[in-house]
């Protein structure tokens, strides 16, 4: 048998927490989040991403190249 939902006193704190979470407030976006392409912050973040991504990409490419080289050498020199 299906139980009927009843509002109890102990439901109040979680209910208030949900109301507090969904209550609309002002959002203040920085130029990066706002999508302003000419902002210095946006350009700074793009440069930082490019630098870190570039270095990580080069490093992973180097490791992959090393693995393939070792594999090729091992295959060539196998007894």
């Amino acid at each position: 048998m299906k139980r009927r939902f009843r509002i109890r006193r102990y439901h109040a704190p979680p209910g208030l927490a949900v109301v507090w979470l969904v209550w609309p407030l002002n959002a203040y976006a920085c130029p990066v989040c706002f999508g302003e392409p000419d902002s210095s912050q946006t350009r700074g973040l793009q440069a930082a991403i490019l630098l870190l991504g570039g270095v990580a990409g080069l490093l992973v490419t180097g490791i992959a190249a090393m693995v393939f080289t070792i594999r090729r050498r091992a295959g060539r020199n196998a007894p």
Binding site: S40, G44, A47, I49, L52, A56, M66
Partner: protein
């Protein structure tokens, strides 16, 4: 527990042509590269994203002198690396000189920090000083570690060179490559802050 030596540490493995110690060294260097890539990425974000970046507030003279000392140390260390298999006496002389130049780099760095801190340019003063102290500080810590290894090679190298020259040569190689990496990082710091 038996004390087994690391296989293929001093001679290349026949099939892959790889030495285990060199593989480990390059993996450590890869992690070091990623560490500095993160710090330089932070520098790029702060420098390009900032509307006020007072590079002239940094001390210019001592870092420039340090760059010449670093460049001289590279030459000395490379010549020492060439001499390791030929003349032990020449190697020890050049290695000691390289060690001295490394200590001089650290001394100049500490003098530069003292000047900056003395005139109230703290890491909390501006993001420029914050990232400058972090980058040069991490570089100094790694340099100090490398100098400790170089000193250890200088102390123990003579007897090892007689007993096991190949092992000695590999140890020297393992100290030179991180040194070169730190030199590259130093010049990247110079370009990142002063150019």
């Amino acid at each position: 527990m038996t004390n087994q030596p690391i296989p293929y540490a001093n001679e290349p493995r026949p099939d892959t042509g790889l030495r285990n110690n060199r593989l480990g060294l390059w993996l450590v260097l890869a992690s070091e590269i990623m560490l500095f890539a993160g710090l330089f990425s932070a520098l790029a974000f702060l420098r390009i994203g900032s509307t006020d970046w007072p590079t002239s507030a940094l001390e210019h003279g001592l870092p420039l002198i340090n760059s010449f000392v670093v460049a001289a140390s590279v030459l000395v260390i490379l010549f020492a690396g060439r001499a390791v298999t030929r003349h032990e006496g020449e190697f020890r002389l050049l290695w000691s000189l390289g060690l001295g130049l490394g200590l001089l780099v650290l001394f100049i760095r500490s003098a530069e920090w003292s000047i900056l801190l003395g005139i109230g340019r703290l890491p909390s003063t501006h993001n420029l000083f914050g990232i400058y102290f972090v980058l040069t500080g991490v570089h100094a810590v790694l340099l100090a570690g490398n100098l400790a290894v170089n000193g250890w090679i200088l102390v123990t190298g003579a007897s090892l060179a007689r007993q096991d020259p190949a092992r000695h040569r590999e140890r020297v190689y393992g100290a030179i490559v991180p040194w070169l990496a730190l030199v590259v990082v130093w010049f990247a710091i110079m370009i990142g802050f002063f150019v």
